[in-house]
């Protein structure tokens, strides 16, 4: 119950799809989604395999609360070895696709091998079939969505697909479902592309049952009330979306600007939530039309935007005059502050292109920022960029780059490498704002010290969602800590990492944790599935998952030497704002963190830790 207890295993090499029972012993230890699928991945692939080779596997996994009436209970994750990072990847997405997979009667899909020709998978209740995708190979996510629904004469299908970026194995391509929700990071789209798999379309009519409906409804309704009464989840996020952060993070001096040369962006207000909700001078209309919820979500932070029809990016392209997914904070930062571009419409257009072609806007924007620095240093020229003037602040450079990168044409092909490979190629690897090959997101660790340790130790490469200490250091949730000091941050990061790993394994959205603790979540999980889930047991599962991911990465060849930040963050002090004069104090936090984790000074889980967590 809560579980359908069935896994769909698809062998793309052989063209077969088979049902098998869910491993309930593992579910009892690893919960679901991120944790459970990671356990399958660790069991089934060689950690040293080529992420883009047939030996890698791609897992789409739901959690025990996916497809239930729990608020935000619609999430799924894609787990694989990341194309961008060579580390374990787990990218989480909302929309409606995850719940639909559960309604069709499946907890998880494991895809293995490589199809000899482009295919898509259609899962209609218990029937799963691979179909020829030659008619949609080379088309966008949006065209694929429309084509599949027409083909199956079913507008109620939900489609998760790659765009041309994934087909071309752009290293930070993503997987997009429901047109604009994405499993965004670490290049999971490239892995899907390498398998010649264009899309997975699902339609389910069976529904989801839980272990104890009465207890479940009581716990779910209590949780909804907490979200409604909380200022962040009840007011801030529905009104402004995650973009509520743009001006806040800029003011605290933690907005990485122009490839992290600066920590404050003079154009921040122009690309903020407030700007999205202000009528434009050109046409008197707002960029933001409305907010949207993902499946089951009572917060509804999603942005739906419309680009100014007279803007240079779309003036002659009426196909972009409709509403679609607008800017979230991380995207607005990467496409804007990281590149120095303050043109809101250009950012929105680039965001549309990222959704349409299947690109992670964080890694894309940060890579453009790195390329702009290379250009300004004279290491890239107009000849190498195909005529593009890659200057900081150039909206045209940004939007042209977005059009080129998915197609992997000309200079777009270089940009598709990501900033670590691009800067290394041009002899300046220190200009890559990455950890484990992945671009870090919208919080400068000089202004928010805990985020330095967060990025350095994140198992999927630099990421804010693995331990969002911004909550504590800036917003004061669950308690306020000083963002400018390193004291106590090792423990804070560990606590956030473990709790988040548990939440990512439930089918819920991590944004609920602005209001919820595991005390709100555990009763919902416990009423949904067997296992006697308490907050303590969930936290322990979270720690187990964290260590499991760490072990995978160690076997894949990572060491403590990879738990490092770019020199810029630990050697070049912030030039303005509250953090002026500060660098990140990673060296002060890391040894304490290893110790708290029960790892050796080389960052390896000790035998005692492995035994304690029953790994």
């Amino acid at each position: 119950m809560g579980w359908t207890s069935k896994i769909l295993r698809v062998n793309l090499t052989e063209g077969t799809a088979k049902s098998e029972p869910l491993n309930m012993d593992w579910a009892a230890k690893y919960l679901g989604q991120r944790g459970l699928a990671s356990r399958y991945l660790v069991e089934e692939i060689d950690p040293r395999c080529d992420p883009l080779g047939p030996g890698n596997k791609l897992i789409f996994a739901t959690g025990p609360l996916t497809g239930t009436a729990a608020s935000t209970g619609g999430r799924y994750s894609v787990i694989t070895k990341g194309a961008l990072t060579n580390a374990i990847a787990c990218s989480n997405s909302g929309g409606y696709w995850g719940a639909e997979l559960k309604f069709a009667g499946w907890d998880m899909i494991i895809l293995e091998g490589r199809s000899p020709k482009p295919v898509y998978l259609a899962v209609i209740d218990d029937k799963a079939e691979l179909h020829d995708a030659s008619g949609i190979w080379g088309t966008s996510v949006w065209q694929t969505d429309e084509w599949i629904k027409k083909r199956h004469q079913d507008p109620m299908m939900h489609v998760s697909a790659i765009g041309v970026a994934g087909e071309n194995q752009v290293l930070y391509s993503c997987i997009v479902n429901d047109l604009h929700r994405a499993a965004g990071r670490s290049g999971v789209g490239a892995v899907m592309g390498s398998k010649n798999l264009k899309a997975i379309a699902v339609r389910g009519t069976g529904g989801v049952r839980v272990r104890d409906f009465k207890a479940f409804m009581a716990a779910a309704n209590a949780g909804k009330k907490v979200l409604r009464d909380n200022a962040v989840t009840g007011q801030g996020l529905p009104t402004h979306g995650t973009q509520v952060l743009m001006n806040v993070i800029n003011e605290v001096g933690a907005l990485p600007t122009r490839n992290s040369r600066d920590v404050q962006f003079e154009g921040a207000h122009d690309i903020s939530a407030e700007a999205m909700a202000t009528p434009r001078k050109t046409d008197g209309r707002k960029n933001l039309l409305t907010n949207q919820a993902c499946f089951g979500c009572t917060i509804a932070c999603g942005r739906i935007s419309k680009i100014d029809e007279s803007h240079y990016t779309v003036r002659n392209k009426p196909e972009y005059w409709h509403a679609s997914g607008g800017l979230e904070y991380e995207a607005a930062w990467a496409l804007g502050a990281a590149t120095g571009v303050n043109d809101l419409e250009a950012l929105t257009y680039t965001n549309f292109i990222c959704n349409e072609q299947g690109l992670d806007p964080i890694s894309f924007g940060a890579t453009v920022g790195a390329a702009m620095e290379l250009y300004e240093l004279g290491l890239l020229s107009k000849e190498t960029t195909g005529g593009l003037e890659m200057k900081f602040g150039s909206a045209e450079a940004l939007t042209r780059a977005a059009e080129l990168v998915g197609k992997a044409e000309g200079f777009g092909k270089e940009l598709g490498l990501g900033s670590a490979r691009l800067t290394a190629k041009h002899g300046k690897p220190e200009l890559a704002m990455t950890v484990k090959g992945q671009e870090f997101p919208a919080y400068d660790p000089r202004g928010i010290q805990g985020m330095g340790l967060t990025y350095a130790t994140s198992n999927r490469g630099a990421c804010h969602l693995r331990s969002y200490t911004v909550s504590s250091e800036i917003l004061g949730i669950p308690h306020k800590t000083d963002p400018l000091v390193t004291d106590g941050k090792a423990g804070l990061v560990k606590a956030f990492q473990d709790a988040t790993a548990a939440v990512d394994s439930t089918g819920l959205c991590v944004f609920t944790t602005f209001a919820w603790t595991l005390n709100d979540i555990a009763p919902q999980v416990d009423a949904a599935v067997e296992g006697g889930w308490t907050p303590e047991k969930m936290l322990e599962a979270g720690e187990r998952i964290w260590n499991l991911e760490r072990q995978f990465n160690m076997r894949a060849g990572f060491t403590a030497a990879d738990d490092r930040l770019p020199d810029r963050l630990v050697k070049e002090a912030a030039r303005t704002g509250p953090a002026k004069g500060l660098v990140n104090g990673l060296d002060k936090m890391l040894p304490e963190y290893y110790e708290l984790r029960g790892w050796t000074k080389d960052g390896v889980p000790t035998n005692e830790t492995v035994a304690r967590l029953a790994l």
Binding site: A69, F103, G204, G207, V208, F213, R228, G296, H322, S324
Partner: protein, 165 residues
């Protein structure tokens, strides 16, 4: 007092909690495919619209039913009696709104019956896009909104966001 569901699409976020509540109330399972209310996503227009039976006073479905399986209860609700329904689907053709549908797993038709006076969808809606109100006063909020504008010189044209607040 007769009551009716009042739907304000301007407030809908597309979360589908109404579909989950409906299917749980009526089928004992979380299953939007069996929900009597459905949320439509007009993505390119940035609009989400919940839609269900309006309980017509003179109901096409009721009049078309050849075995009198649809009756009107004291609250004005058109109720399908499963023991009488033969699954002929004539009502699904007669209904101009598409809000009565065949359920292949039971061989009967299903439609909204306002949950015996306590509609689960309205309870579950987090934004009050679906409310349950006096059937004779369903226009009250909209009237008030327009009344508030009267004499203020504010536009009353098609672009004035009457339903959006």
């Amino acid at each position: 007092m007769l009551k009716a569901l009042v739907i304000d699409p301007g407030k809908c976020t597309g979360c589908k909690q109404c579909e989950m509540a409906c299917s749980y109330e009526n089928e004992g399972v979380f299953n939007p495919a069996k929900s009597r209310i459905r949320v439509f996503d007009f993505h390119h227009e940035a609009r989400f619209v919940p839609y269900t039976c309006t309980q017509c006073a003179e109901a096409w479905c009721q009049q078309a039913c050849p075995v009198n399986a649809i009756t009107t209860d004291a609250m004005g609700v058109k109720v399908v009696h499963e023991n009488l329904c033969v699954g002929c689907k004539v009502c699904t053709i007669a209904c101009p709104f598409g809000t009565i549908n065949y359920n292949a797993s039971t061989g009967k038709v299903i439609k909204c019956d306002l949950c015996q006076g306590n509609p689960a969808c309205a309870d579950a809606c987090p934004t009050a896009a679906i409310t349950y109100q006096d059937v004779e006063q369903t226009g009250y909020d909209k009237m008030k909104l327009w009344a508030a504008r009267t004499g203020t010189g504010e536009s009353a044209g098609p672009n004035a966001p009457a339903a959006r607040h």
